[in-house]
């Protein structure tokens, strides 16, 4: 394997791994806070047990998120030293604030996990909220750093030198808001559907129904609100991308030729050599509308961009299709669920709806990973858009392929162990929580 490809794959793998755990760490504290709140208000033991059961799962995820994140902060330098040498001082601001946010999060988590029966109960609840808020804050901050790579700001690039550095301006670059908003919603949607789906499965299996129904409801409401808002925020992102990274937008839509009005493609097989797309459904003018809010606007195609600045079109296009397809599907599921909620229909009469949720367990995460592929692969060949090429940033050390193999093995085994542990947690629910215990 080529070292450059190995480095890119290793980066993608580590980030793709970390993001799953960090999303859980960002979102689950809010689910727990709701259930914890209900316990404090209603004294219903089921909610207490639910909070505890969730918090055990979260501890496992949190640790995995923390170690894989530590890995990442080294990996940026291990793999992309030239990038970090210049970018570090510019986009470092969010990372240094993020350090604070992580720290607060880790401390609050210590209080929360070990504070049962030791702290004032509202203070204990509050520490749980602090975990969530600081987790969310750190997510937003890292995404702001990533947004800077898409939309560099806060410095002047003169003759290859980075001058007049302003880290605050770099942090509030043009892309940070649309990306951070979309990312936070994605975290809620993906985690919410995964959690709701697991509990739906347990309801279908007739185990501890009361427990799992309560859990399902909390997760599903968060998930469905996220899924309703996601396309709106995706639209903001798309308009943003059209403005700042026309090459990425063209790759997302496999738009080889500039068109006015431009059609939206659904599906289709991309042939990168001949620069054609076969078998796609075309919706005339829709892309013009999505990108510029006007059915007749011109959309820049790849023909207007120098060949050596083209991102890989096929991957970007497929990933975008997957994300939008799943987004639409999740939107439909949410509408059905809210319809049921309003009509006050009991879920137990509708096993098919529960089955739909079970089916959706992995979908949110698939969309999330696909979305990141759109963003990151669509930025290629740039590591800092328009400023530095990825291949100029890679480490001079040979043999990266081996470190890629090692990390693949580590991440695969960690995923297996975490899944296995989670399976055991869920299996133990009947034993640990079926009868409300008075002491624990």
């Amino acid at each position: 394997m080529d070292d450059f490809i190995a480095a890119r794959s290793q980066m993608a793998l580590s980030l793709g791994f970390h993001i799953i755990f960090s999303c859980i760490g960002m979102v689950m504290p809010f689910f727990m806070a709701v259930s914890h709140y209900k316990w404090l208000k209603t004294n219903d033991e089921v909610y207490k047990n639910l909070t505890k059961a969730w918090s055990k799962g979260v501890a496992i995820f949190f640790a995995t998120g923390a170690v894989s994140g530590t890995m990442l902060s080294f990996e940026l330098g291990l793999l992309w030293p030239k990038f970090m040498e210049h970018a570090g001082p510019i986009f470092g601001m969010p990372f240094s604030l993020e350090g604070t946010a992580f720290f607060i999060e880790a401390i609050a988590l210590g209080f929360f996990l070990y504070g049962w029966n030791k702290l004032n109960k509202w203070f204990h609840w509050f520490t749980g909220m602090v975990v969530g808020v600081s987790g969310l804050a750190s997510g937003i901050l890292v995404v702001a750093a990533n947004a800077w790579m898409n939309s560099p700001a806060g410095f002047d690039f003169v003759n290859g030198k980075y001058l007049n550095i302003d880290p605050i301006q770099a942090m509030f670059n043009k892309a940070w808001f649309s990306q951070a908003l979309h990312m936070c919603l994605a975290a809620f949607t993906a985690t919410g559907f995964a959690v709701a789906g697991v509990h739906a499965l347990m309801i279908l299996r007739n185990q501890n129904k009361e427990f799992h129904l309560k859990a399902f409801k909390i997760a599903a409401i968060f998930a469905c609100i996220g899924a309703l808002l996601q396309p709106l925020s995706g639209d903001i992102s798309a308009k943003d991308v059209a403005k700042r990274q026309p090459a990425k937008l063209a790759a997302m839509e496999a738009l080889y030729k500039t068109e006015k009005p431009a059609p939206l493609l659904i599906g289709g097989i991309v042939n990168e050599k001949n620069k054609t797309v076969k078998g796609a459904i075309k919706i005339p003018g829709a892309l013009s509308f999505l990108a510029h809010g006007d059915f007749n606007a011109e959309v820049k195609g790849l023909d207007q961009i120098p060949e050596n600045e083209h991102p890989p079109v096929a991957i970007t296009h497929y990933a975008f299709q997957i994300m939008v397809g799943i987004g639409t599907l999740l939107l439909l599921i949410s509408l059905i669920y809210f319809f049921n909620l309003i009509k006050k229909k009991s879920l137990l009469e509708k096993p098919w709806l529960l089955k739909l949720f079970v089916f959706a367990i992995p979908l949110g995460y698939v969309a999330l990973e696909a979305g990141w592929v759109v963003t990151e692969v669509g930025r290629q060949p740039w590591i800092i858009y328009g400023i530095m090429r990825t291949k100029d940033a890679v480490t001079p050390m040979p043999g990266i392929a081996y470190s890629f193999y090692i990390f693949s093995a580590i991440y695969v085994s960690l995923s297996i162990v975490v899944t296995f542990l989670l399976y055991r947690q869920i299996k133990m629910v009947p034993v640990l929580y079926s009868k409300p215990k008075s002491n624990s």
Partner: protein
Amino acid sequence: MEYVVITFLCLGILLYFLLGGADFGAGIIELFTSAKNRSKTRKTMYQAIGPVWEANHMWLIIAIVILFVGFPRIYTTMSVYLHIPLLIMLIGIIARGTAFVFRHYDAVKDDMQWLYNRIFRYSSFVTALFLGIIAGSLISGHIDTQANDFLSAYVWGWLNWFSVAVGFFTVSLCGFLAAIYLIGETNEEHDKRRFIKKAEFMNIAAVVFGAMVFIAAQRDKIPLIDWVFKNTIGLSAIILATLSLVLLWYLLIKGKTKILRVLAGFQVTMILLAISYAHFPNFIRLKNGNTISLFETVGPEKTIYSLGLALLLGSVLILPFLGYLFYKFQKKEE
């Protein structure tokens, strides 16, 4: 602001050595504990470090972030030429962190525990070893940025007598810190005595490996003796460390456990000071005789300013909270 940032950097590194080190040490102690006492050691250890390990671990991240934001050349030089030991240390961190949490949170306690324990112990050892190797390599003057072949550029920079000796010295210091820390965590006379034994053992190991560090330095032509003994700060730090060691053993016999921790921490701080003071602010010594100093590589003014501000703001928010965490979980349940 430069000074604020550098202070935080040194503080971050120091605290990672002390707190994270004690944390690695716990695994190392477990490695050297006979099978029949292990489960008890484990329990004491879990009570002691469970609530705080995540926070301890943050000091490393703080230090790294300060390095790549404020001193990018140091960060990139390290990541290029110390790629391999950093990688091994990271694998160690991943393995021990996850194994530690998994073994506690696994809902079913069965044979998997055996695996988690193994991983936790060995990776604690490896992490501490490589942490020391990396620290040693920075000052060893073996890092060769002009090398043309793979081995000289990426291997001999850290695989040399001095760095490896520092690695083992670090392992024994971590074990020592952990043993001292654990003495105060248990109420049972028998366990106490066991941890005291461990502390003795680790202390002897530290003295032996400390001597090896000097021998290796001599062999590798590193003027360690000059740094430590021909400089008042270095010399007084070493004298203080030795005195505190005597005091420490005296108090240990007297059974005063709380103050021991402070002394052990103080002792390690003094050792670090003695080794690093002489060439501060030089952070990396290169093979060609050049050095990379903190002041020369410091990032642009505005960056340092906002970094310093973020750190100050962060500590105002964090320190009371962190103090309360330690305080709350210090009080043993009666």
